[in-house]
Symmetry: C2
Amino acid sequence: MKLDDALLKLKEQGVRLTPQRQEVLRVLIEDADKEEHFSAEEIWRRVQRRYASVSFDTIYRTLRLLTRCGLASELDFSGGCRRFEFAGNGHHHHLVCLKCGRAEELPLCPEECLARVQAERPGFKVTGHAFEIYGYCQRCQ
Amino acid sequence: MKLDDALLKLKEQGVRLTPQRQEVLRVLIEDADKEEHFSAEEIWRRVQRRYASVSFDTIYRTLRLLTRCGLASELDFSGGCRRFEFAGNGHHHHLVCLKCGRAEELPLCPEECLARVQAERPGFKVTGHAFEIYGYCQRCQ
DNA sequence: CTCCCAGATCAGAATTATTCCAATGTACTA
DNA sequence: TAGTACATTGGAATAATTCTGATCTGGGAG
């Protein structure tokens, strides 16, 4: 999914398209590569390049908004590094380096485990899941 | 594993057995049931019952120590609820309620996914992994 | 059993991440 | 093009965790 599609999707949901929101979305979509997932501060710095007076609060509020709209995901990796990514590139999980914090995307998902749990605990309403593998990347070993 | 075994294991590792440390370990082992995983504050309150002047810092330091010694695990659940559990009851994952924060233990593990990743990324040194399923428990729906 | 000191504890301050608030600004409808 | 509901701003508040420097103590040596 590209930036224009994402903006359209926001508009369809009746969300006001402010320049700050557009730029946060642009950073998530265009500045990220497969191994780079931004912290809120990194996103803030990048948005500041174009909108120097943007506040930290706006970044967080926008990220929460985008998450609610299904356009961003909040990643709670171990070691206190909460990161954000664009959610329009398909479901995946992460291989996370504990030294440099970079996360590579893994095109897999423990679906059988999920299915088993849902079958065995009908009383629990599943809404999501997380799966991360931790360790040290080649550079950091 | 019981409290005495855990204390012995600490001693073998040359760790000083202070009353505070013993009480933290006792809380983790004897006060927890399968659906209750304590926050640092909950552990602090419980240790205070016996050692009224214990500091918050001691709780955190002890939990880090126990984690390094393999006797505790830090659980980074989504929604900012970091919790701690005794690590002597076998490997497992968690079914986490996003409302009340309780976590039920799941006796399963996405092993095939781990094996696949290790086979496909020989350059990455895997040291651990996390798998949690989120949703709402019967009570909280 | 007592002494001793490396390492542990304590209280409170510092740090970090995130959210709240009240005043001000603005995207979008009509 | 104007009006207003919603968004942004900057600074302060909150919460979680860690640091610091003074004081205390578990447990080995004698």
